[in-house]
């Protein structure tokens, strides 16, 4: 009896193996291709997924979007790249040092210089995805038209007699006034690990204004973050904002996904978000009156210079992918004029896309704000070896909030990691 069962089981197992083998070799050979696309949370909008569906209907090639929580994304991606298990398409932040160090694109990604859309990509944006003259990534993201700024609720400000802050004292005083009235001044989602770093790195133009030529000196290893008074002031003020309760009691548990919910509730006055945030709020909560919301620059270290960043979430095709042609086809599909228009129309906070011929949409008030003649490039793009350690800076800042690190310690730690990354990249400026 037992022998009979064993025999039957063995036969069934053999049959299964044989079927799978057959399927692999011939049976399922005509099956449709599914491209895997790995991205961090918040990088793939619903509009892009809808375009993915359209692409599937048209070509029969499906896209499997694998979205990973932001605080785990880069570790996971690098592990996959380093172990040779990369997906067909992977998302990454553009920026030349990131491309070399984080993703090693010359080895891990496909050269896209000759793709039909490459010549239409904004040259400033394309430069951030170019290594040794070859374009490796496609930035399908509203980079140049959108900046990270403080979005505020005008009604709350007016009701409490608060003027729009133009320096740190103004912001602190707004916080104190609102806290006294029992209103949470600001929503700061620290749990994601990346958002609170914006307060520091996006202030690059201010650091540059205070110390002209600083970015060039940092890149030549002739200056450090530690000891820079403007940076120290910014980090110390950041700690002051946390300690004074300006971000509420649960900032360490708050996530960026809740930004519109929190702001629409009318119980929080400010949030750092894209300059197109108002449209996003209106999309999620249609009763929102856009005139009730305004923007101002992050005023740490008394900053009044507009922060611009030509780098942003970018798509790369893995060189190990068995479906490179299909992946290229997908990127080309996304850049067709109709599809780009669909994307801009349906991504609430997008003001455009960095491609030739794409119309911009931005309310006149924000457009006037973005026309600020005092402007500069953010430090994660202007200074080498900052963006690759973005999440580490986030951890350092969180450790500073909880009292485990000092503001000086945060800056020293950034220098230390820059030196490690530069040494690993065999940067001549760090060879002496």
């Amino acid at each position: 009896m037992t022998k009979g069962i064993v025999h039957a089981l063995a036969t069934a197992a053999l049959a299964t193996v044989a079927m799978v083998a057959l399927g692999n070799s011939a049976g399922f050979a005509q099956d449709k291709v599914t491209l895997t696309y790995l991205a961090s949370q918040g990088w793939v909008y619903d509009a892009e997924q809808a375009l993915g569906k359209k692409f599937e209907e048209k070509t029969g090639i499906a896209i499997d979007y694998q979205i990973v929580p932001a605080d785990q994304y880069f570790n996971l991606l690098r592990t996959k790249l380093n172990s040779g298990e990369a997906p067909d398409i992977f998302g990454g932040q553009s920026g030349v040092t990131d491309l070399k160090l984080q993703y090693n694109v010359e080895k891990n990604a496909v050269d896209l210089s000759n793709e039909p859309w490459a010549s239409k990509l904004d040259p400033l944006v394309a430069a951030q995805s170019t290594v040794n003259g070859k374009l490796y990534g496609m930035t399908y993201w509203d980079t140049v038209g959108n900046s990270w700024v403080v979005n505020y609720n005008k009604k709350i400000f007016a009701e409490n007699g608060i003027a729009v802050p133009t320096d740190y004292a103004g912001l602190k005083s707004a916080c104190v006034t609102l806290l006294a009235k029992g209103i949470q001044p600001m929503f700061e989602p620290i749990a994601d690990g990346w958002h609170h770093v914006l307060w520091f790195a996006e202030l690059g133009p201010r650091y540059e204004e205070a110390t002209p030529g600083l970015a060039a000196q940092l890149n030549a290893n002739k200056a450090t973050f530690a000891g820079n008074p403007t940076m120290l002031a910014a980090v110390t003020q950041l700690k002051d904002l946390y300690d004074s309760g300006c971000w509420g009691k649960n900032a360490l548990a708050d996530t960026f996904a809740d930004r519109t919910k929190v702001m629409a509730s009318g119980q929080v006055a400010m949030v750092v978000a894209a300059s197109g945030f108002g449209a996003e709020l209106k999309n999620d909560y249609p009763q929102t009156n856009l005139d009730d919301y305004g923007v101002f620059l992050m005023p740490l270290a008394d900053n009044q210079v507009l922060n611009l960043n030509p780098a942003g979430p970018t798509m790369f095709i893995s060189s190990a992918s068995p479906h490179i042609a299909e992946a290229k086809q997908y990127l080309e599909f996304l850049t067709q004029p109709d599809n780009m228009k669909y994307f801009v129309d349906n991504v609430p906070n997008a003001t455009g896309l960095p491609f030739e011929g794409v119309a911009k949409k931005l309310p006149p008030a924000i457009q006037a704000f973005m026309a600020n003649p005092k402007r500069g490039t953010v430090y994660q793009t202007a200074v080498n070896y900052v963006n690759p350690q973005w999440m580490d800076i986030g951890k350092d800042l969180t450790a500073m909030f909880t009292g485990a690190m000092t503001p000086e310690g945060v800056l020293t730690s950034i220098d230390k990691r820059r030196a490690e990354l530069a040494k690993a990249a065999k940067d001549p400026a760090w060879q002496q």
Binding site: G193, N250, A253, T402, G403
Partner: protein, 291 residues
Amino acid sequence: MYAKHYPFYFLVPVLVLYFVFFILPSLLGIGYSFTDWSTYSDQISYIGLDNFRRIFSPGENYLAYMGNTLIFTAVTIILKTVIGLALAILLSEGVKRFANFYRLAIYLPAVLPTLVVALIFRSILHPATGALNMFLRSIGLDVLALPWLIDARLALYSVIGVDTWKGVGYITVILLAGLQTIPRDYYEAAEIDGAGFWARLWHVTLPMLMPAIVVITVLNVLYGLRVFDIVYALTNGGPGYATEVIYTEIFKAFSMGQYGLGTALSTVMFVVLLVAGYFVIRLLERSSGQE
């Protein structure tokens, strides 16, 4: 009828496989921990003890992460064993109705994937909207509604709590099986001699259960020292670096492409596990010697 001893060459294939797939990678790993092997360079150079110097230098936080790993291991062993034993005794003696249902309910968390458990608990332990704090506030215990995962002093213990909740069912099952092997006569004899519950527990249950307790201790030591997934998914080492353990650092080193440093950290853990294993096996031998 059959020869008692097989010739040695019967063992050779297994030994070769074991050597190639277990011993060799471990030795290679130890070897690489003395190099600067990284993803940034094709050359691998011997750098002596540099990686180890870095791990044990006061400028780095690795010693604190080792401390977290040891606290996690020690506290989870105590909690899982004590709670597991209490539940096992309750299930084998206390509960008469629906005993099988309770056994299933207690074992269930062990079956759930760690990632799922962590995501659920991230939501339950949210300081403002989490179910735990909302429940505590609703019954007037606002004082106990703490920022479980975001307070640097509390976060490690919250992780330990969640891990205990998940792992205690597994320990209970092993102890339950152990309890059922203890003959009833011993308890009856002890009762006749006037032994109460605690005396029976101390003089009959615990000595008879020692082999099972040693087994779960070995399992818990190995699990605790190598903990990774629950920490990674629940806090990712945060807030700041408050719940960072050695294996989250090893993962970080590998994901950064610093293979030399990663293997050095693994080597340190290998030595710690070897020492811990040695003492636990000594304990095991002592306890089986007593029988």
